[in-house]
C-alpha cells in the first residue's frame, strides 16, 4: 500500500474544491473526499494487518523515501506502525463526521471545507512522516486552518480565542523546532530521520536539554497542564466541526509527537523527567475534572473534561511502562472519537436551541430522543463505562501505571482513578440537566430531532467507540507491538 495516497487524496479533494462552482458541488466533493479517506484508512488498516500476519516484523511498514533536501540530509520518508495506523483511522473517522455535521454551513462554504481538508492533510502527513523535518512541516500546516476556522466561522469571542490558540500552538511548535534542530546537530553530520536518530544513542546531557523542549512543545498541542488554556477558549469559540477536529485530531498530534519523538528518541530524558510529567498530568486530570464541575457552558464542560481526559494519555506516557504507553495511545484514539462525538452532539443541540448554557436547557430527551441518546452514551463513554472505548483506555492506563510499585506512582495512579468519580458527577449533572428533567422552555417543544447527516455522523463515530469498547483486542493487538518498541528503548536505558 502506498502511503502517498493519504497525502494525495486530500490534495486532490482540495484542488477539486477550488474548481467547484456551487455550494452543492462543494458539499458533495468534500463528502466524497472524506468518505474516500475513510475507505483508504480502513484499507491501510487491513493491509497493515495482512503484512503483520504475513510475518513482516519491521518496525515501520510500507516505508518509502524520496530525497528532498539532499544537502541537508532531509528526506521525504514515510512509514507507519500500529500507532500511526490507529491515529490515521481516528483521523478519518473524525473527518467524515466533521464534514457531515457541517453540511448546513452557508457562510463561505468553499473556504470552510477547503480548510477542513487542509487540516486533515496536515494530520495524515504528520502521522505517516518519519522524517522530523517533514513531520514538523505537517505539524505547522495544521495550525493556521484552525485559526481561520475559529476566527471566521466561530462564535463568542472568537478572534481572541483564535489568536490565543494560534500563538500558543506556534509557541509550542517553536520549542519543538529548537528541539528538532538540537537533534539534528546532536546527530553530527545531521539527519532528521526518526529511525536513524533512534539508533544512534544521543548523549545523555544533550537529551536532558532537548527532552523538555520537545515534550513541552508537543505538550502544548495536547493541553499539557498548565499550558492548556487555549483549549477551553478555542473549543468553545470554534464551529462544531472545528471543535471536533481540534479535540479529535489536532490534540492528538501533540500526544503522538510526545510519544513518537520525545520519548522514543530521548529515553534518558524521558526517564529523568518522567516524574514531572506524572505530577503535571495527575494535576491536570483531577483539577481539570473539578474545573469542569463548575462550568455552565456545554462546550466549556467538554473542553475542560478534555483537559482531564488527555491527562490520562500523558500520565500513561509518563509512566513509561509498556502497558501504560499502550493505554496512552488507546486513550488518544478513544478520546478523539468520544470528544468529537460530544462536540457534534453539543453542536446539534446548539443549532436547535441556540444556547449552550446548561441552566437554560432541560428535558430535551422528550423532543429529540436520538440526540438525547447519543448525548447520554457519549457521556457514559467519557465517564468510562465498560462497553465503550473510554473504559478500555483508562483501565489500560491504570493497569500500566500500577506496574510501577513505588509509593509516588501509586499515589499518582490513585489520584487519576479518583477522577472517575468526579467525571461521573459533572457528566450526570450535564446529562441530567440538559436531557432529563422538565422542559424549561416551551419553545423547545417544537424542536426536531437530528436529520440524516447528523445521524450518520453520530453513528459513524459511535461505531468507532463501540468497536473499541466491545472488542478492544483488535486495537490492542494493533498498538501493543508498536509501543513495545518504544518501551524497549526505555528499557535499554535502565540496562
Amino acid at each position: 500500500m502506498n502511503l502517498l495516497y493519504l497525502i494525495g487524496l486530500p490534495v486532490l479533494t482540495a484542488a477539486a474544491l477550488l474548481l467547484a462552482r456551487s455550494k452543492e458541488q462543494v458539499r458533495w466533493i468534500s463528502f466524497a473526499g472524506s468518505v474516500a479517506q475513510l475507505a483508504l484508512a480502513l484499507a491501510l488498516y487491513f493491509a497493515f494487518r495482512q503484512e503483520r500476519a504475513a510475518g513482516n516484523t519491521a518496525a515501520m511498514l510500507f516505508d518509502q523515501t524520496w530525497p528532498l533536501f539532499k544537502s541537508l540530509h532531509i528526506n521525504f520518508h514515510v512509514g507507519v506502525d500500529g500507532i500511526s495506523v490507529a491515529m490515521i483511522l481516528l483521523t478519518s473517522f473524525v473527518v467524515v463526521s466533521g464534514v457531515l455535521v457541517s453540511l448546513n454551513i452557508e457562510k463561505m462554504t468553499k473556504e470552510f471545507y477547503f480548510l477542513l481538508i487542509l487540516l486533515s492533510l496536515g494530520a495524515y502527513g504528520f502521522f505517516i512522516s518519519l522524517d522530523l523535518f517533514v513531520l514538523f512541516f505537517f505539524l505547522e500546516i495544521a495550525v493556521i486552518p484552525k485559526y481561520l476556522l475559529i476566527g471566521i466561522w466561530g462564535s463568542g469571542k472568537k478572534e481572541y480565542s483564535a489568536n490565543k490558540l494560534a500563538l500558543m500552538l506556534m509557541g509550542g511548535s517553536a520549542l519543538v523546532l529548537v528541539g528538532l534542530l538540537g537533534l539534528y546537530y546532536a546527530s553530527h553530520g545531521g539527519t532528521f530521520d526518526l529511525m536513524e536518530l533512534s539508533h544512534l544513542g544521543i548523549p545523555a546531557d544533550t537529551q536532558r536539554i532537548l527532552f523538555p523542549l520537545l515534550f513541552v512543545g508537543f505538550g502544548v498541542f495536547t493541553a499539557l497542564f498548565p499550558l492548556h488554556t487555549w483549549v477551553p477558549d478555542g473549543h468553545s469559540s470554534a464551529p462544531t466541526a472545528g471543535s471536533m477536529f481540534l479535540a479529535g485530531i489536532s490534540m492528538k498530534l501533540g500526544g503522538y509527537g510526545c510519544l513518537r519523538v520525545a520519548v522514543f528518541l530521548l529515553p534518558v530524558g524521558a526517564k529523568e523527567y518522567a516524574n514531572i510529567i506524572i505530577v503535571l498530568s495527575s494535576i491536570a486530570i483531577l483539577y481539570g475534572a473539578f474545573a469542569t464541575m463548575m462550568q455552565k457552558d456545554l462546550k466549556y464542560i467538554n473542553a475542560y473534561s478534555s483537559v482531564s481526559h488527555v491527562g490520562f494519555s500523558l500520565l500513561g506516557i509518563g509512566m513509561l511502562t509498556h502497558t501504560a504507553l499502550t493505554g496512552a495511545v488507546l486513550q488518544m484514539v478513544s478520546h478523539g472519537l468520544m470528544t468529537a462525538l460530544f462536540f457534534a452532539v453539543i453542536g446539534m443541540v446548539y443549532d436547535r436551541t441556540h444556547t449552550r448554557m446548561v441552566n437554560d436547557l432541560g428535558g430535551l430527551m422528550k423532543m429529540m430522543p436520538f440526540i438525547g441518546t447519543i448525548f447520554f452514551i457519549v457521556g457514559l463513554c467519557s465517564l468510562g463505562l465498560p462497553g465503550l472505548s473510554g473504559f478500555v483506555a483508562e483501565m489500560t492506563v491504570f493497569m500500566g501505571s500500577w506496574e510501577n510499585a513505588d509509593l509516588f506512582h501509586r499515589i499518582a495512579t490513585i489520584t487519576a482513578c479518583m477522577s472517575i468519580v468526579v467525571t461521573a458527577v459533572y457528566i450526570l449533572r450535564a446529562v441530567g440537566k440538559v436531557m432529563m428533567g422538565p422542559v424549561t422552555n416551551p419553545v423547545y417543544l417544537t424542536l426536531k430531532d437530528a436529520n440524516w447527516n447528523e445521524k450518520l455522523a453520530a453513528v459513524i463515530l459511535l461505531a468507532g467507540i463501540l468497536a473499541i469498547g466491545l472488542a478492544p483486542f483488535w486495537l490492542n493487538d494493533l498498538v501493543r507491538p508498536a509501543t513495545e518498541t518504544i518501551a524497549h528503548q526505555i528499557l535499554q536505558v535502565t540496562k
Partner: protein, 466 residues
Amino acid sequence: MNDLWIIMKNELVVTTIIFLLLFIKIGKGLKNETLLPLIQFLLLANLLQGFFFNKEGLLFEGIFYSNTLIIVQKNILSLGVYLISLVCSDWLKKSPQLPEFFILMLSALLGMFFMISSGNLLMFYLSLELATIPVAAMANFDLHKKVSSEAAMKMILSSAFSSGILLFGISLLYGATGTLQFAEMSALLDGSPLQMLAFIFLFTAFAFKLSVVPFHLWTADVYEGSPVAVTAFLSVISKGAVAFILLTVLHKVFLPMMGIWYNLLMILSVITMITGNIFALRQQNIKRFLAFSSIAQVGFILVGMTNEGQLGISSVVYFILVYIFSNLAAFGVASAISSQTGKENIDDYKGMYRTNPFLSWILALALFSLAGIPPTAGFFGKLFLLTAGGAKGSFWYIGIAALNMIISLYYYLRVIRSVFMDKNDAPIEKISVGRSATLGLLLCGAGILAAGLFSWIFEYIRGILN
C-alpha cells in the same frame, strides 16, 4: 578582450536599457500605456538574459569579478525589479515621469550589480553610492506630497552620514593594511584594535543599509513617506543586494576576524529581531508595518549569516529569493489598494475579503510566508536560516529566534484578522487590478508556494557553492 563583454554582460544590458529609456525620454516620449509594457518587456528580457552565456572571471586586476553565485544573485535582483514593475504597475501608470523613475531604478540596480561584483573597496564604495543616491531621488517621486519629500530628505541625509562613517572606516582600513583589494586584504588582517575599529565603521554602513538595529531608524519613516513602488524596491532589492555583498565581505574578506563578527551578528540579530517585532506590533500604516516587519526579517537573515559555511551563504541567498516573492506580494496588494483608494491603514482593510477575495488570499499567502508558516516558502527559508544559525549548537540563540517568530505571527495575524474576520459595513470597494499587476501577484503567489515545495531550487543554490 571580449571576456569583458561576457563577464560584465548583466551590467552592460542594464546600461543599454537605461540609454534606451533616455532616448525615449529625449524623443517625443510615449504614453504610459504603451511605455510601461515596453519597459516590462525590457526588464523581462534583462531577467532572461541573466540565465544564459554567463562566464566566471576577473576584470581590471580583480576590481570586478563574477562567478556563478554572483550571477544567481544578480538574477534574483533582476527578477525582483521585474516583479516590482508588474505589481506596482497600477501606480506606475499614473506617474507623470515614468521613464525617469525606471532610469533611476535601473541605475540603482546597476550600482547593486557592480557592488555585488566588486572586488575592491573603491569599487564597492562607488557602486554603493550609485545604488543609494538614485533611490533617494525616487523616494521623492510623489512630488506633491509633503511626506514624500521629507522621506527623501531623511534618506539622503542619513545615508550621506552613514557613508561618511563608512569612508572613515575604509580610510582607516587602508591605513592599516595599505590595500583596497579584498583578495589581498584578508591576508593582512590580524585583528588589531585599529582594524577592528575600521571593521566596525565599515560594518555600520552595511547595517545602515540593511536597517539593522540601532542603525534602522530611518527605515520606517522613509518607507512610509515614499511611494509604494519605491518602498518595495528599498525593502527588497537594496536589502537583498547589501545582504549579498555583506555575505562576501564577511565570509571572504573578514574571515580572519570571524571571532568578532560572529558575536557582533549574534547580538545585533537578536536586538534587531526583537526591536523590529516590538515596533511592528502597533503600527497602523501598512507600509510602516511592513517596514518594521522587514527589520525583523533582517534579524533572521543575520542569524543565517553567522554560519560561515556553505549552509550560511545558501540559506541567506535562498531566503532573499523567498523574501522577494513574499514581500513584493504584500507590497503589490498594498499598492493596488493605495493607488486606487489611497487607503494605507490596516483598519481600512477590515472586511476586505468580502469585496476582494483575490487580493485577500494573496495578502494572506504573503503574510504567512513572512511569518514562516508552511506550506509557504517562508517556512523553509526561516527553517534553513535557523538551521544555519544553530550550527554552533547555541540553543538559546535559536530559541530566541523561534520565540520572535511567535511575536511576528501575532502582528501578521492582526492583518489577516482584519481582512478575513472583522466586521465592517463599509469595506474597501471592489478593486479592479490591472492585467499586469494581476500577473505579477500571481507570479509572486506561485513563487511563494513553489520556491518551498520544489526542493531543487534550494538544492541548486546550494549546489553552485561547491
